[in-house]
Symmetry: C2
Subunit: 414 residues, 2 copies
């Protein structure tokens, strides 16, 4: 008989308590052993993945591509586990500390959040990526992947659980929900006494359904309507390269550029070469009236365009009078994910980074750089668009909370 979701949550809780006092070395060892185990079951894993693919011939080619574990993805999964193992331990970091006048030695120390449920869709590499980040920070994790990848995920979970046991840690630090019915997620979301955090990884609908169906805190990873503002003083070659990279390096991701803002005084000089470079890459351009004066064959943008995350080779372009109008546009239409300025002016860079309230604010850098790896954080479970707890890339440090430890010597309150 399958384990009930309640029992899984209780076992995760017990595993979490054991993890709280386990050493960082044991967690590191487990992560390295997970990579070894994956290598050992590679044949079984690829066979299961092939079965998953065969079981769903009706899926779209794009979906099948996400579901498939290629050699490249497999290597990537192993590397992520090993990279996570090699990262410094986020648990036990002393975040601040002081000795008070009465001798009380106060310190704020990073500890695991506890039990984290991760609900995700197709890509099976999330199974190992997310487990790695969660375990690195001492959390017990309950994984609920897409039903299409259930066979693949079962092989992955089994291998990770064996590695945990070999490292002297509880197998239930990583659990996979094998049920593929909708009721399973519903039951999971009811365990607010046992589960400390839910991270839904997937489309808007999934995130909304999860947040509205639970009292457990949810760390949301919503869309990015990302902007680059090109000031009139920008170097045209740099601006062109940055805009093309921001838009085209990968179009279907959250931190791809969706709207380009150009300062009016520089539009005549900047827009034509930028547009030409984008068109070479097959990007459809939709511009405001002023834009179309400089780019006569540009399609007209509608009001809706400014609020659209295309995730496609389409870019909306607006000419703004100055940095203040750019900031107002971003405040009104942006999603607070990633927004950048391209300028040679220190003063404009200062104003932009102070006034734009986004998780990542960039100066002369591609929006595609707003990720964990490019910020030196190693493995991440995603890019949070929430304001509280964690904002931007969510790595092992962000899956920690803290406790205050105060050591006295019979210290009383007066």
């Amino acid at each position: 008989m399958e384990k009930t979701i309640l029992l899984m949550a209780q076992d995760a809780r017990a595993a979490r308590n054991a993890l709280a006092t386990a050493s960082g070395a044991a967690r590191q060892d487990a992560l390295n052993r997970m990579a070894e185990k994956l290598l050992a079951v590679k044949e079984e894993l690829f066979a299961a993945n092939t079965e998953d693919l065969a079981a769903a011939p009706e899926l779209s080619p794009a979906f099948r591509k996400r579901l498939q574990i290629s050699e490249k993805i497999f290597t990537y999964m192993l590397n992520r586990l090993r990279e996570a193992a090699a990262l410094p331990d986020p648990v036990g970091r002393v975040l601040e500390g002081r000795t008070m006048p009465n001798g009380l030695q106060v310190s704020r120390v990073a500890v695991p959040i506890g039990v984290i449920a991760i609900i995700y869709e197709a890509r099976p590499n999330v199974t190992t990526d997310a487990a790695a980040v969660a375990l690195k920070s001492g959390n017990a994790v309950i994984l609920k992947g897409g039903s299409e990848s259930i066979r693949t995920n079962c092989v992955l979970a089994k291998a990770m659980r064996e590695a945990l046991v070999e490292a002297g840690l509880p197998a239930d630090a990583v659990q996979l929900i094998e049920r593929t019915d909708h009721g399973a997620v519903k039951e999971l979301l009811q365990q607010d006494k046992l589960v400390d955090l839910v991270i839904p990884r997937g489309g808007k609908q999934l995130i909304r359904a999860v947040s509205e169906g639970t009292r457990i805190p949810v760390l949301k990873h919503y869309d990015g309507i990302c902007h680059q503002y090109v000031a009139a003083d920008a170097d045209v070659a740099m601006a062109t390269a940055l805009v093309v990279n921001s838009k085209c390096q990968r179009v279907e991701v959250y931190n791809a550029l969706e709207t380009l803002l150009v300062e009016a005084a520089g539009a005549e000089r900047l827009l034509p070469p930028i547009a030409a470079a984008l068109r070479t890459q097959g990007v459809e351009l939709r511009g405001c009236e002023a834009t179309r004066r400089f780019l006569p064959d540009c399609l007209p943008a509608t009001d809706e365009d400014w609020d659209t995350e295309y995730l496609a080779p389409i870019l909306s372009i607006r000419v703004v009078s100055d940095i203040d109008e750019a900031i107002r546009h971003i405040t009104e239409h942006g999603s607070g994910h990633t927004d950048g300025i391209i300028t040679s002016s220190l003063e404009l860079a200062r104003r932009f980074t102070a006034a734009v309230d986004s998780a990542s604010v960039l100066v002369n850098a591609s929006t595609r750089l707003s990720g964990g790896g490019d910020y030196g954080m190693g493995a991440v479970v995603g890019i949070s668009t929430d304001r509280l707890h964690a904002r931007g890339p969510v790595g092992p440090a962000e899956l920690c909370t803290y406790k205050w430890i105060a050591v006295g010597n019979g210290t009383l309150r007066n």
Copy 2:
């Protein structure tokens, strides 16, 4: 006509945007001016407070005491404002930073959360305390106090708003909801597009009603079922003084001691003097069977006692076999607020602080010390019992989130 709640939330949003680029010096100036303004309207304030008290003769003496602004409370309010002004600016702190191999200069910088709604009950000093902490960290705040203190709160809010304007900041950085009907809170809780955080300060019922009625993130300040575990090796004089201070320094507060755990091997030596000292202070003792063997006239504790926050001069006592049983008891019955160990053993202290998963874990210190002031944090809006974002005392730093700022030189993603 009174301002609608929606309009207040929109104005708070605008104020928040202005605050984002205002200097720390201006916020400091505003806080100092608030104290001056309060002094200037002292007579008017006390008159309003007297009216509030006169308008509700049916209130209990305890409630009236909380509602009343005494000379002592008034001085305390002024001091809190000035202390907040003097604290280092939490906004703009560089929390971490590095230069990546590609030259991208990455830093994580503290920024205000944004618009914070604070819903609270009787004590009018929360009006200035909470506004001070929120403003110190650059947030715009919407205050909803108890209807019983509405006249008092109006005078306080008016003074604070005048101080803001004199300091060159938007008055709407501090707004008070003057409506006293229940609909006002309901409307406020619907503004999830405009309000970034709600902090309910008050009883369980208030907190629960707020969390269940909104999609805005809620920072919860629940009860404390606080423990002290006295190991067999504890010094009897230190243990007695700590237990008495933890229980009796103030009984009606969240970090007052509710359950005492004593290691069996030391119970005969430790329990009688501790019990005698507690009885001198008028504390009613309720013990487990083993406790009652050492304290024959102690009342029997029921299962319910281990899960009760008395907030009264009552203490439950349980004899446990060792530190592991103590940790299990705290894990099962504690509320994760504040728990301590009294011991002379470094090893026991290490084990306890590692295994007990509470916001504050103390060694040889009174539970009453788990507050912002005693941790050197200055003014706080409360003690969070949540695990995410902020845990334990919530001061200006905890009312910040962060943004990532990345500065490149035409830096692309490969």
